[in-house]
Amino acid sequence: MNVIVCVKRVPDTEARIKVDESGTAIDKAGIKYDLSPYDAFAVEAALRLKEGHGEGEVTLLTLGDSSSQETLRKGLAMGADKAVLLTGDVTLDGLATAKAIAAELEGHDAPLFLFGVKAADDDQSQVGPMVAALAGRPCVTGVSSFEVAGSVATCQREVEGGSETVEVDLPAVLCMTKGPNEPRLAALKGIMAAKKKPLEEKPAATVEARIRLTGLAEPPARAEGRIVGEGADAVGELVRLLREEANAL
């Protein structure tokens, strides 16, 4: 079965984020970028599906600039078969992103489109379900694992206080969260092979963003904390502070 996985290039989760002089962008100096963590779970899920069914093609799709090639190569090195880079502006208007992706997906008849639940930069948690709505497909979000039998995918979905088992008719969109299957690391052989895999680059059909970023700020620093004391002897004082000063108990 063919699967398309939408992936995004984002700052590494270790990155320290500083706002630059413009006040509307991050200071890119020293920042390393990587495949967004949940997208890595989605790639892993697609590869497992392909391996399990013994056939099918895994295609990666991203909207970004040419630096996203590196991210796509990483996914290809994990085992994806080919990649498409739509070049265009990425904004904080997730619907604009979804439209560019949905326009490209019209040309693909893969029964499954996989997304991450959220991208680790804008944290919007919206592009997957929006693409589903635009493409007229059903969608399940927060999927930790799934199996496909015939034309139905059975998903484990995380909800408050537990999980659900959800069936969805294919073709469908699934938005993946962290699950039991750790994303694989690319082996040297995979990295070599990835260099020869097809990576198509073409301009995105972008629309104008209707959400405008007017400012970016670092979070207010937390007030200086204090070490109440050492060991069990400090507990009495901690409980007093929590009750009287913090009003938290």
Binding site: L95, C139, E160, G162, S163, E167, G225, A232, V239
Partner: protein, 329 residues
């Protein structure tokens, strides 16, 4: 018209803090836009009985869509009904809660209506008719201010951030029976497994007790349960990724960049080093307590109160003293 619609989610027929916060945020926004707040609730028949009470949190009119098939959330069932109400009401803004349900529903409704969506906002205002929000980005390592150039302005609010207001008037209930054809739904919930029967979810709790690798093994979680029970109700257990990956705790408890984001009024980090990905999920907690034997652990840099010491000595004593404090209340 400058009215604002809040989608108020129910669970088991009850409208909890998620729905109430959305209504109150909508009421505040409607106030600055010069309109009123309406609420939309969907669920099984019987819901409308208590719905006029939502007036006291800010809803002037409460639309209650009742249908047997809507008792539990289904994306296919809900999205179209919400979109229809938004179209009919001609709203200036629509407010959802960024709960599991809201994260699933709001983007779909936005796409159906062809309007953008700002999710998980921590501040919501109207400046001369333009809706402006602040929302965390980069897992809370920065905050973005955004202007929404579309009508309705569609947002989802971060749980536990917006206060539930108090209004004097009761709401007017407008009950309706939506047309629902559940047989056409392409998404079906076929099973529910409750990880922790009767316990609050970590993302919704007002107090969180989290354990990390310093706990040494899953057999020691009784210590944290003891602390949770000593504090009382509304307390949830959380975990670092290290302990979830080790299989000591379920993923639903993971706090951080690849887990849940929490904003409780009190957060205990027990045997957690404070890696940047963990801090991303809990740094907006009102008060943070860290218990760690390493005085240089990064968790102390965000903690309001820290105890340097062996958690196996500190936590039992802490549970004991809190229990004594509560008993004296």
């Amino acid at each position: 018209m400058a009215n604002v619609l809040a989608f108020a989610e129910q669970r088991d027929g009850q409208i909890g803090s998620a729905g109430r916060e959305a209504i109150s945020a909508a009421a505040t926004l409607a106030g600055s836009l010069g309109g009123s707040a309406h609420a939309l609730v969907l669920g099984a028949p019987g819901l409308s009985a208590g719905a006029e009470g939502l007036g006291t949190v800010g809803a002037e009119t409460v639309f209650v869509g009742e249908h047997e098939a809507l008792g539990e959330y289904n994306p296919e069932g809900y999205a179209g009904i919400v979109a229809d109400r938004v179209r009919e009401g001609g709203y200036s803004a629509v407010v959802f809660t960024a709960s599991t349900l809201g994260k699933d529903l709001a983007p779909r409704v936005a796409a159906l209506l062809d309007v953008p969506l700002a999710t998980d906002v921590t501040s919501l205002k109207a400046d001369g008719g333009t809706v402006t929000v602040v929302r965390p980005v980069f897992s809370g390592k920065a905050f973005a201010t955004l202007e929404i150039d579309a009508t309705p302005a569609m947002v989802s609010i971060r749980p536990n951030v917006f206060a539930v207001g108090e209004h004097s008037a009761a709401g007017t209930v407008d009950a309706f029976t939506p047309e629902v054809d559940a047989s056409a739904w392409r998404v079906r919930v076929v099973g529910r497994n409750s990880a922790s029967e009767g316990q609050v979810d970590v993302s919704e709790a007002s107090i969180v007790v989290s354990g990390g690798r310093g706990m040494k093994g899953p057999e020691h979680w009784g210590l944290l349960e003891g602390l949770r029970d000593a504090i009382g109700s509304g307390v949830a257990l959380g975990a670092s990724r290290a302990v979830v990956d080790a299989g000591w705790r379920p993923h639903g408890e993971q706090v951080g960049q690849t887990g849940k984001t929490v904003a409780p009024k009190l957060y205990f980090a027990v045997g957690i080093s404070g890696a940047i990905q963990h801090l991303a999920g809990m740094r907006t907690a009102k008060t943070i307590v860290a218990i760690n034997r390493d005085a240089d652990a990064p968790i102390f840099s965000v903690a309001d109160y820290g105890i340097v010491g062996d958690l196996f000595e500190v936590v039992p004593k802490l549970s004991e003293e809190i229990a004594a404090l509560k008993a004296a209340d």
